[in-house]
Amino acid sequence: MSAAPLLSVDDVHLRFGGIRALGGVSLAVAAGQITAVIGPNGAGKTSLFNAISGFYRPQQGRLVFEGRDISQVKPNVRAAMGLARTFQNVALFRGMTVLDNIKLGGHNRMRASVLQAMGYWGKSSREEMALREEIERDVIDFLEIDHIRNQSVASLPYGLQKRVELARALAMRPKVLMLDEPVAGMNREETEDMARFILDLQEERGMTILLIEHDMGMVMDISNHVAVLNFGQLIASGSPQEVRSHPDVIEAYLGAREGRAVNASQGR
């Protein structure tokens, strides 16, 4: 990695009262690569995501995105800058249709001001049409969710809901796509579909992806770079092969030194 990373987390400390969620974590997310964050439950993975999206403010450390220190930037502004994410639990707006949910992802890119957007004409409506077209082509067709666009999200099976959430993040035209457990709770077939979409995003569009995942098989298959957290500390970082055989990682997962290689899916 010679070029400066697109996103870097620099010695981030995050405490809640006496609990230390992150104790000086540093991580570099390289452009165009898939970086995975793994670790046992409670290791601080989601806290790290929340610090990156701005929901938590670290007491110490910096977050640098495209060369700019974003540590003091509000979450909605970070999203508009190109940090899109999905959530561990499906966080779709349940009363709305698939299309409305996805269109909300494009909300932050709209130029028209609030007052113009109050109406439905002129510039505002032209932007709306352009957004519609782009969403059709780059998101709905790509993720193969054409057939459900007008359904209410609440009626969809879980796997499809996760896919709609990914679609909504894509509509934000992200520079870094952050996925918090994209295949949690999915069956084998759904997991393979999702892994294929993530790989396609990287290979065809050069998208930068940061993901948290417990499915070791998938992480090892698709990631370029893996970072391992345990008790709020980064204990290992490197290629999937390096991480897989790292003694600290094996201990963190199996609790003993004489463990087997961590290549099986971690049961939950």
Partner: protein, 292 residues
């Protein structure tokens, strides 16, 4: 009571239900946007009406301009309240917000009393006074027209929330602020807008109510009666409060027709109470299901 009177009382009741639904919508907007019940709703109504009165009667502005200025004034006040009173409470329990709105209501009440005095003022006539005569049935003009004004405001807001981008963003921010935030929606802005809308809805309703009866600080008590409508409709359902507004309006009118004016405040509440025993979440409210 004969059939003609029954129909007449029923129609009057249904038509007056429009205003009830409009005020109820003010409660629902704030509840959906912030999960708090705005007990200062009545004061927003009253203050809006006083602003229109001041513009028209004191400053001699034409009515439409006075109404416009009234809406502008109440919007600014709503923004101020959001900024100075509610935002510092962000993250506090909903009950705190609710208590604060009660205090806010008292404050606004006192301010109105201090500025305009407590006596009854004659509000300009906004809606046509001419009654409608359909055969033997007579409907007072203001009540008939208030229904259509209320309906127009409710319809406009519903379309806005359904189709406009900002409206959809407001719904998103209301249903899940964290996720909305992560999508780049400025949740603070949408909450401000929620209060502005609720304030304007209140001002419109207050102005009409005052022009039908008269203007005094007691006007704010109307909103408390509407709470029954809100609860019956379901706190978070716009369609629910429309239906509930019509039901309660009709019940009030019929109660007056059969049992006299004293029954006006009693019968509707008894019926609402009975319905709520069967459907505690209201007619169309979201049923909270706890998964264990």
């Amino acid at each position: 009571m004969d059939w003609i009177s029954f129909i007449e009382f029923s129609l009057i009741g249904l038509f007056s239900g429009g205003l009830l639904a409009l005020v109820a919508l003010g409660f629902v907007l704030v509840y959906k946007g912030t999960r708090a019940i705005n007990f200062a709703m009545g004061e927003f109504m009253m203050l809006g009406a006083y602003l229109v009165y001041t513009g028209h009667t004191w400053m001699g502005l034409p009515l439409w301009l006075a109404v416009l200025l009234g809406l502008l004034g109440i919007s600014l006040i709503a923004l101020g309240v959001e900024r100075l009173v509610l935002r510092p409470l962000a993250g506090q329990p909903v009950v705190s917000v609710l208590m604060v709105t009660i205090g806010l209501g008292a404050l606004m009440h006192g301010a109105v009393d201090a500025i305009w005095g407590g006596r009854n003022l004659e509000m300009p006539q906004i809606l046509p006074r001419k009654p409608l005569l359909w055969g033997d049935i007579l409907i007072p003009g203001p009540i008939f027209w208030s229904f259509w004004v209320a309906l127009a405001v409710i319809a406009a807001l519903s379309l806005y929330f359904r189709f406009s981008r900002t409206g959809i963003a407001m719904r998103a921010a209301a249903s899940d602020p964290i996720t909305a935030y992560a999508l780049g929606i400025d949740v603070r802005r949408t909450q401000q807008l929620t209060w502005v809308f609720a304030g304007c809805v209140g001002a419109v309703a207050g102005t009409i109510v005052a022009s039908i009866s008269s203007l005094s600080p007691a006007l704010s008590a109307t909103a408390l009666g509407v709470l029954a409508v809100v609860i019956l409709g379901g706190l978070d359902s716009v369609l629910g409060v429309i239906i509930a507004g019509l039901v309660v309006g009709w019940l009030e009118s019929i109660a007056v027709g059969y049992f006299g004016g004293k029954a006006r405040d009693l019968v509707p509440y008894l019926v609402v109470l009975a319905i709520l025993m069967i459907r505690p979440y209201g007619l169309l409210g979201t049923r909270d299901i706890e998964r264990l």
